[in-house]
């Protein structure tokens, strides 16, 4: 069964600093997602990465995918308080029934201090 591991699980950082969240997964997949979740809210899609070497950027966040290493990173540049949230990576697997399952990591709880 696919495992998706994120680290760190908790991150407290100062505004203006840079940091990277890592997502490792245990089986072949070429579909990786990053989501943001604010407390008590649903999931907001941030990035979809569909191929090896894919890199996407939105504002202060940049995500990349290395399918050979089974690793994705979410890099935060010059963090601001508004980025405080929980960030999940997720990977699709495809059972023989023809559907798909999306397997989530445990999440990284990010707190940006002013």
């Amino acid at each position: 069964e696919l495992k998706v591991e994120q680290n760190p699980l908790f991150l407290s950082m100062q505004e203006g600093k840079n940091y990277t969240i890592y997502c490792n997964y245990s089986t072949t997949s070429d579909r990786l997602y990053w989501y943001r979740q604010d407390p008590g809210k649903s999931l907001e899609s941030l990035f979809v990465l569909l191929s090896n070497g894919a890199v996407k950027q939105e504002g202060r966040l940049m995500a990349s995918l290395d399918t050979k290493a089974r690793l994705s990173t979410l890099h935060i540049t010059a963090a601001v308080h508004d980025l405080s949230a929980t960030y999940f990576c997720a990977v699709d697997i495809f059972p023989s029934t023809g559907g798909f399952k999306t397997i989530f990591g445990a999440g990284t709880r990010l707190f940006v201090k002013a």
Partner: protein
């Protein structure tokens, strides 16, 4: 266009009761997936339905069941509720089923279930 809608938003039940949660996908979307998110954890896949057929099932007991209707809306049923079933239940819809082509999932706001 309305996004994915779920009802109710909050629900309180006692152990042993039964609960039905409802989801309406985005118009035109034929695939619905259900997830359970226990506080402090990532969402766990429960079911995927496409064209009224179950196409994926996670590691949940038989107390959990679901169905999809001709209009593509879906219900998640949980029997004999346990305290551990307390969670946020998320529904997500997507256009297609096919694994060979990408189709993005859109998540609803969730139903917060509390079992006392």
């Amino acid at each position: 266009d309305a996004g994915v809608t779920q009802s109710p938003t909050h629900l309180i039940k006692t152990r042993g009761q039964h609960v039905t949660l409802r989801c309406s996908p985005i118009s035109g979307h034929k695939s619905v997936s259900w997830y359970q998110q226990v506080l402090g954890q990532g969402p766990q896949f429960i079911f995927q339905y496409y064209e009224k057929e179950e196409r994926g099932r996670g590691n949940f007991p038989d107390r959990f069941s679901a169905r999809q209707f001709p209009n593509y809306s879906s219900e998640l049923n949980v029997n004999a509720l346990l305290l551990g079933d307390s969670a946020l239940y998320l529904c997500a819809s997507s256009l297609f089923l096919a694994s060979s082509s990408y189709n993005e999932q859109f998540f609803g706001p969730g139903t917060r279930l509390t079992v006392l």
